[in-house]
């Protein structure tokens, strides 16, 4: 067999894995691979970013949007370390990535060579798997295993550290058809006895509830979930990552989320249910509050592909380790009559008496109002990407999601700066769906350099900056728990984001009155190219309801007074008077 160089092997493997899109930034330790890229540019589209964190978040957004692994190509040392936050983000949210980092030649590893860093060491706790290639002959198999591991079982990021001498070395390219990893065999079946137990519990239950998690979006099983809800008439709530539930009976889904900033009725449903069927969730502390008081009356069924999740944060009565598709299909094989309409009606009443709401204003743009309007004007299959902070919670509460894989954010790590680059990646992955990014003024500035990437590739992304002149979520905690001492959270020196966008070549609009919102959202939805709306929103607004950290989710704060001082603290020129 003809021998080829390591750098060429990489691209041949990418083609075998049906990779047609990669993200990255070149450098000395990966220059040979980038040279090889010239010969593959008609088969693989490469996107140059302005920061490796941006490139890696973009790969993450691409993966969430397409279900395919996101592939990143960066150099050693600083190139690799710049990806760390984004790899950790993907790891926490179980997103498949294959990140290829250049490395100094094997003979120099360990000598503190120029741009050397211990990438496998640094990324060990934030990857599903990583590997330093030390031998050209093992490289094809390493690549095959990387894609297999990233995308099967519980997905996650894999890092391949590729020394320069391996990129140049020649070897036989024998790409394995299958992987042989006896120590990696995710259990996908789901134990039949536990499945039976679940269905027997359901028969006896009066107040069952399905909790839909990110695993449902990742495994592409939302339609099965909807069928399950409809077939047995079970109501459902969703975590931050599990949005897109839509049974044909709308009463069966309680939108707006549960947990710290969940709805009152969502948390009521969890707290009063007698059977909680949790699908692909990891019971984050932001969802459960104080574990002692989480779903106190319920038997808990936990279905997850990852056995290490079961029993980690909450007690579980019926553990089911398996692929959601198999387990849901088995659930659906059961046929029996149950009637939960009393329970469904009870929840409807609570929903009516304690709706998700916010104070209306004709002076200030309420961020919640703007999000509701965006939700009206954008098509149903729009992909919504939020950043982190208040903006994220408001999107989760007030945007109406109709489809799976429609709402992306950094749920587990809470990475500010995620939304803009991830939105770019999502749009690259789904060019025919609208993609709208909501970012706070703080987080937007954490990867603002990627506006240049939007312009470079003319990516028709829609962006809303919800500018409350503050690191709002932290400011809210300071108001509520630290006596309004706003330590380092007021951004009264924000730039004109709309002007920055214009300078970069992106159409932009600045709004600050509520009566400007509808028109702006309509224009944003209709405009053909990339566009940014810079919205000055009420700086006093808090995310409510709120369960204090470690509190009972059945007892949230429903209201909190405004700190009127904020109007003075946040000095704004303009027309809010």
């Amino acid at each position: 067999m003809k021998k080829i160089k390591g750098s060429k092997m990489l691209f041949e493997a990418l083609l075998k894995e049906n990779v047609d899109t990669i993200f990255g930034i070149p450098g000395g330790a990966i220059i040979n691979v980038y040279d090889e890229l010239c010969d593959y540019e008609n088969k693989i589209k490469f996107y140059l970013f302005r920061h490796e964190q941006g490139a890696t978040h973009a790969a993450d957004g691409y993966a969430r949007a397409t279900g395919k692994p996101g592939v990143v190509l960066v150099t050693s040392g600083p190139g690799a370390t710049n990806t760390v936050t984004a790899i950790a983000t993907a790891y926490m949210d179980s997103i498949p990535l294959v990140v290829i980092t250049g490395q100094v030649p094997t003979s120099m590893i360990g000598t503190d060579a120029f741009q050397e860093s211990d990438v496998t060491g640094i990324t060990m706790p934030i990857t599903k798997h990583n590997h330093l290639v030390t031998n050209i002959e093992e490289f094809p198999q390493v690549l095959k295993e990387a894609f297999h591991i990233a995308t099967t079982g519980r997905p996650g990021p894999v890092v391949i550290d590729l020394p320069k001498d391996i990129q140049i070395a020649e070897g036989t390219f024998n790409y394995p058809e299958e992987v042989n990893l006896p120590s990696y065999k995710p259990n996908v079946k789901g134990h039949p006895r536990q499945i039976k137990t679940t269905m027997e519990l359901l028969k006896k239950s009066k107040k069952p509830l399905v909790l839909v998690g990110g695993g449902v979006n990742l495994s592409g099983t939302m339609s099965l979930v909807n069928r399950f809800l409809d077939k047995f008439g079970i109501p459902a709530v969703a975590t931050l990552m599990g949005r897109g539930v839509k049974p044909s009976n709308p009463k069966l889904y309680l939108p707006g989320g549960i947990g710290m900033h969940g709805t009152y009725y969502g948390n009521y449903a969890v707290s009063n249910s007698d059977l909680l069927i949790a699908l692909g969730v990891r019971f984050s502390d932001r969802i459960i509050g104080n574990p002692k008081y989480f779903a106190p009356n319920a038997k808990i069924v936990h279905v997850d592909i990852d056995p290490a999740e079961i029993g980690k944060n909450v007690r579980v009565d019926v553990p089911i380790v398996g692929d959601l598709r198999n387990v849901l299909e088995k659930f659906l094989e059961y046929d029996f009559e149950v009637d939960f309409s009393n329970w469904v009606e009870e929840l409807q009443k609570i929903k009516e008496s304690h709706p998700l709401t916010y104070p209306k204003s004709d002076k200030y743009i309420k961020p919640q109002y703007l999000i509701e309007k965006a939700s009206e004007y954008f098509p149903e299959d729009t992909i919504v990407v939020s950043d982190v902070g208040q903006n994220q919670m408001w999107v989760a509460q007030f945007y109406k999601f109709h489809n799976p894989r429609s709402f992306f954010c950094s749920g587990g790590l809470g990475t500010m700066g995620y939304a803009l680059p991830a939105g770019i990646g999502a749009k690259i992955g789904q060019p025919h769906r609208e993609v709208i990014v909501f970012a706070g003024d703080g987080g937007f500035q954490m990867n603002i350099q990627e506006l240049m990437t939007i312009n470079r590739y003319k990516i028709p992304l829609k962006i809303v900056v919800l500018d409350n002149n503050s690191l709002g979520m932290v400011r809210q905690w300071q108001q509520l728990f630290f006596k309004c001492r706003y330590s380092a959270t007021i951004l009264d020196d924000n730039p004109e984001f709309s002007k920055i966008a214009e300078v970069v070549g992106i159409k932009a609009l600045k709004i600050q009155r509520p009566d400007e919102v509808e028109k702006a959202m309509r224009e944003l939805a209709e405009y053909e190219g990339p566009m940014l709306v810079h919205a000055l929103v009420d700086p006093r607004e808090n995310v409510l309801p709120m369960v204090p950290p470690g509190g009972k989710i059945s007892e949230p704060y429903l209201t909190a007074p405004y700190d009127e001082n904020l109007e003075k603290v946040v000095k704004r020129g303009g027309s809010n008077e």
């Binding site: 060491g121 060990m124 706790p125 030390t134 120590s183 990852d306 056995p307 290490a308």
Partner: protein
Amino acid sequence: MNKKSRHIVSVLVYNKAGVLRKVAHLFARRGYNISSITVGKSEIPDLVRMIIVVEGEDNAIDQIEKQVYKVIEVYKVSPISSNVEDRVEREMALIKVKFEDNKQEIYQLVEIFRGKIVDVGQEGIIVEITGATSKIEAFVDLISKSGKIIEIARTGIAAMDRWDVSQGK
């Protein structure tokens, strides 16, 4: 406070670079102190067995074992019985002792503990002693009263469930 105790875990792994680090890290990040770790060939070609002894809370150990199992190179994780009677546990130590006034007592202790003298020098000896950790600790304690301990090297603990226990598992 949650109850703390000593746990012994047997982990079969593919011996690739970095595996030890990955496994050790999963204990460390939950605050488990690894008091002993041994690595050696197992009965299965390609696989090595790690015997890890940790001190830590009882409540998280199951979950850590599941996380260890998730490391791609890890083939199998088996907790070793927490009941002393149900397991066999051995460790070997080499102890370099300098004679002081009581040379004879040292030889006696070695005999009582069924140690082996593996090296004799002008000023002292090297003793090899095998047994459960408690036995080695008792020996070290006593011998330090008769001679001066210059150096101790211990292998770490090898352990397995007894026949009848492992059959039942």
